[in-house]
């Protein structure tokens, strides 16, 4: 069975995302795009994940609890879980490593915490788009220990991509996959960056506005529940394809 997955979507909580990235609208757009699985991945925060899960209830769309974490090296890394509980446990572990700098909404963008209807609950006062003190390998260890899956994001991108920052992909990262941007094909990425064959390559929209949702996805072939474990297995076994529209 083919599962259409977009595993990198921001909400209005991310300062760089549009205010239209509200739970009911994200779900509506994901369904229009015939997606089966999405992950909500705001920068360094889990605060809007439950709202999107609630908005997707009874729609057939599966929502994962995720976060795009910025490591000490400034590498953006997707941390993906089946449940909000696991994600919150990660947030608790990382809390001490996050700097407490105030956001400047006028310059950097608003950070809205909202409910399942998209109504305003609070402003996140702390700037989210910053590096934490946690090193990449430590983060991945924590994610794996909590039963999640880590995927370094847009590794080829100049801003916060693993390749520009770290020069090459470490050969032994305990992750099933690396995300590449829509600007490069999988074969090009493998050849240019000498990516070891044991890493799968995924693609996602990294949507910051509604129209972007689903414009770059990974199709996964597996049966059973749309769980992190099943997706990780499909990635490891090469049962996937990248799609861009």
């Amino acid at each position: 069975m083919i599962i259409r997955a977009d595993l990198h979507i921001h909400t209005a909580l991310s300062p760089c995302a549009e205010v239209e990235m509200l739970p009911p609208l994200i779900v509506e757009r994901a369904l229009e795009q015939r997606l089966d699985l999405i992950a909500i991945t705001d920068h360094n925060s889990s605060a809007n994940v439950q709202a999107v899960m609630d908005a997707a209830r009874d729609t057939g769309l599966k929502v994962w609890a995720g976060m795009e974490f910025q490591t000490r090296e400034e590498v953006h890394t997707l941390c993906l879980f089946d449940t909000v509980r696991q994600l919150r446990a990660l947030q608790a572990v990382l809390e001490l490593a996050l700097p407490h700098l105030p956001n400047n909404p006028a310059k950097l963008g608003e950070q809205f915490i909202v409910d399942a209807q998209g109504d305003f609950l609070a402003r996140e006062e702390r700037l989210l788009l910053v590096s934490a003190g946690t090193a990449l390998e430590s983060l991945i260890r924590e994610v794996n220990a909590l039963g999640g899956m880590a995927i370094p994001a847009h590794i080829d991108r100049a801003e916060n991509g693993l390749i520009p920052l770290l020069g090459f992909v470490p050969p032994d990262l305990p992750v099933p996959a690396l995300e590449i941007s829509r600007h490069i094909s999988a074969s090009e990425a493998r050849a240019r960056f000498h990516i070891p064959a044991h890493y799968a390559l995924t693609r996602a929209s990294d949507a910051h506005w509604l129209d972007a949702i689903g414009n770059a996805i990974t199709e996964l072939d597996f049966t059973g529940t749309r769980s992190v474990a099943n997706v990780a297995c499909a990635l490891r076994e090469g049962r996937y394809a990248l799609r861009t529209t």
């Binding site: 000490r72 090296e73 003190g133 090193a135 990449l136 390998e137 390749i163 520009p164 920052l165 770290l166 020069g167 090459f168 470490p170």
Partner: protein, 114 residues
């Protein structure tokens, strides 16, 4: 100028590679993007950076750099230090900023190599 002189004059902490302190320095390079370092740093250069990821060691060894100076007390993991030690790569630590270290290196006559 050899690495040992830089260590002494700048008061740097030797984290790894003390066996290679007599290595001659050919010039300097400063950046935190390892892709830039791979493209621009030259053999025998001293590299000044905030990064302390294991890839730093691999890049420095690959390029045959004379030493890596990790600035602003960026934490250097034990396995990173051990890897550098095994590769006989000098890794130095300092609480100073990259800017301050580069300024001092320039004063000692360590120059950019184009």
């Amino acid at each position: 100028m050899i690495v040992r002189e830089v260590v002494e004059k700048l008061g740097l902490q030797v984290v790894a590679g003390s066996a290679a302190l007599n290595r001659e320095i050919t010039g300097g390079y400063a950046a935190d993007l390892l892709s830039c370092v791979m493209a621009r740093a030259k053999p025998g250069n001293v590299w000044v950076t905030l990064q302390a990821h294991p890839n730093v060691i691999a890049v420095a060894v690959l390029l045959e750099l004379a030493a890596v100076i990790v600035t602003e007390n960026a934490p250097i993991a034990a396995e990173v230090a051990a890897k550098a030690e095994a590769e006989k790569l000098v890794v130095l630590a300092t609480p100073c900023t990259t800017f301050a270290i580069v300024t001092e290196l320039a004063r000692l006559g360590v120059a950019a190599q184009e």
